[in-house]
Subunit: 221 residues, 2 copies
């Protein structure tokens, strides 16, 4: 019995899961500077992720302190966390996260980073270990599955990575928190999807006051 | 007391409200031919609109005969129809519809077509009259409001027309039936939205087995 492969993201109504960013933004973040461009990015990110920021789970997981909301949004964040036995992510997501996550990175499981960079595993406080995989997405998934055991593997992001797994037929199910927000441009989730190949059906929808949680299963052919 | 201005469309999860089409497709439709391209278009359209086709209201309104489903999807289609006192549409939607709608066109109210074409009103059986408006979207809306009285004005489509009204701040609310379908390409609903200007909030979500009905209000600034 192995777990499922899934992804879970927040998306704007016009289809973006992150604002556009430039390498300069990550450099600024690394230097601890707040450029206008970075400030704009953070403001957009807050509009998108605002529903999650105030939740008890998010505060706890990012070490922001006690308290926070405890309704369905919070329960959904908790469920997503607890089902995840390992995560897979792309190099760009890791690069941005490396300078943004707290020392106790918010995964608390093994993470497999698909990259050309050869690098020793990087252990963080609290149980997160970043492993750098150089031989492609299937290898990364295989390692993540093994590490996850009976729990599920989350394709954490970014959009490129999610789409690679989706188009390769390697995703079982996914959930989207659809935010009532427009970006106009940004990192599109589904731009490049292989529509001939990926067939889905709805498995449930749930609305909080802030977002709509959409759940889908990928149909096996 | 005047009615609201709204739109109501079915959208794929990757953001399209219609498959791509070419002028050749409309020509083929006009000649009553079924080209491979038109066949593909119809197949995609059916995947998108399939949730509505089997409903009692749709069958009745398109003169497809008795019967059909009568659950929430059907009730939502009926509500949308009954609230509408007049519709506004773009020239391309009219051109395609002119050759595709039954003689008793499915609007049963005045329809205002925004176009450069100068043409006398075109009356159809069953109460639909197409009026051709040559002086822009605000004029078309003004005429539609007047015709609708206390009922609402629907911006029927296509995507261009909807976006023009949305970006001009002339839409009060909208609903999207989000279909678990990917097109990969097609007529995007929100590509070109003025994200700085259009702010929305959720007013309700409801899921049937086939689609998720998303409802939003545009925030007045």
């Amino acid at each position: 019995m192995t777990g499922k492969v899934f992804f879970s993201v927040t998306m704007t109504l016009d289809g973006y899961i992150a604002p556009e960013s430039s390498p300069d933004d990550i450099d600024a973040l690394r230097r601890g500077e707040t450029t206008p461009s970075l400030k704009h990015w953070m403001a957009q990110w807050s509009r998108l992720q605002g529903w999650a920021f105030g939740q008890r789970f998010t505060r706890q997981n990012l070490k922001l302190g006690e308290g926070g909301k405890e309704g369905r949004d919070n329960a959904i964040l908790e469920q997503t966390f607890h089902r995840t036995g390992a995560s897979v992510m792309g190099k760009r997501m890791f690069d941005a996260g490396e300078v943004a996550w707290p020392e106790e990175a918010p995964f608390h499981t093994p993470v497999y980073v698909v990259t050309h960079e050869v690098r020793e595993p990087w252990e963080r406080l609290g149980g997160t270990t970043f492993n750098f995989v150089n031989d492609g997405i299937e290898s990364a998934l295989k390692q993540a599955r093994k590490a996850a055991g009976e729990r599920d593997v989350r394709i954490a992001g970014g959009a490129d990575m999610i789409l690679q797994y989706l188009n390769a037929g390697l995703v079982d199910e996914f959930s989207i928190a659809l935010a009532p927000v427009f970006f106009g441009r940004g990192v599109s989730l589904f731009d490049g999807i292989d529509a001939e190949k990926v067939t889905i059906h709805q498995t449930g929808t749930e609305s909080s006051s802030k977002v709509t949680h959409l759940n889908y299963a990928v149909v096996r052919k």
